[in-house]
Amino acid sequence: MCKRLRRSMLFVPGNNPALIIDAAVFAPDSIILDLEDAVAVDQKDAARELVVRALQTLDFGQCEMCVRINGRHTPFFAEDIRALVPARPHALRLAMVESAEDIAATHELLDDCEREAGLPSGTIKLMASIETARGVTNVNEIAVASPRLVAISFGAEDFTHSIQSERTAQGHELLFSRSAVVLAARAAGLDPIDTVYIHVDDDIGFKADVRAAKQLGFAGKSCVHPRQIPVVHEVYRPTSMEVLKAERVLAAYKDAIHRGTGVISVDGRMVDGPVVAKAQRIVDIARVSGHVLGVQV
């Protein structure tokens, strides 16, 4: 079984029925139904009700269903969680996470709600969104604050405000923080997810942004428009050469296990744990991307 991919995470405003209904058509890896920034303060109740019923009614196919709930220090936080748990989204994305305590408190509330709903403990996962200076400085503690965590995302817009700077095309103001999020996530075995790119018509700029994110070690990108999804998937798509090489590594590994030999070498180079894991990831993505795989792995 292959690990869930989170290359593309499509934000969908939680109070917009038409967009919710069509979201799965574009086949993002994850859909984030947004109860937070995309919803006006006086419509939080309407959006919550709509999202709960959408989760209960619609078939979202293979997409991971996430809901971005309102921050811990808003009046909507607890009610969001209580209403959503019975609807069983795969994960909740918590905005503005600044401390391990934010995660722990969320984890506990989820424990209570899962118990009440008769769900196995830990059913609903968590994603932490780091959007402030405090969040960045605490990210290592945040990353290990709950076994429910599966991803940490970085939000550049709010972050740049919190450090009293402005966003630039090159993004130097974000470099350290982006890397900090990647490091904390990878060290804890979580997926780091990069911030949104709001210039929806700028395909070239977006592609460059996604390449940069991939280079930094991000597992995926938050998207604000369906047209961004294929661009992300294209950037994360392994080349045919990479796929071929990965298949050979996995074949050699399988062969070595079968024969009980200790050291594996492919093309004259030693192959160890991380190399095999990387090869598996490449093959997983290739399979989802529609590559025709040659070697059975």
């Binding site: 917009n16 029925p17 009700e49 019923r53």
Partner: protein
């Protein structure tokens, strides 16, 4: 108990705008205006009445302006509108 007028939803395509007001008599009246009328009218009527019943509302005046909403959207908006109308200090 429906205490005051409230509404929920919008006129956007795929949505409904639901108006809820206290009933002038002891009935649950449901008026539906829809661009897709009349072919889902009966279904919409039952959905509205079902939701009202679930929320324990027996008397109310409900008006629905539909722009092609699926059933779960209608139910969500009716739920929200009724809940808002049940709050004493709703000022929507």
């Amino acid at each position: 108990m429906v205490k005051c007028y409230a509404h929920a939803g919008s006129l956007e395509s795929g949505d409904v705008l639901v108006h809820v007001a206290p009933a002038s008599d002891e009935t649950l009246s449901v008026q539906i205006k829809s661009k897709v009328a009349p072919r889902f009218l009966n279904s919409m009527q039952s959905s509205v009445r079902e939701v009202a019943k679930e929320l324990g509302i027996m008397y109310a005046a409900v008006e629905v302006v539909d722009s092609g909403a699926l059933d779960f959207v209608l139910r969500a908006r009716v739920t929200t509108a009724i809940k808002r109308s049940m709050e004493a200090t709703a000022d929507v």
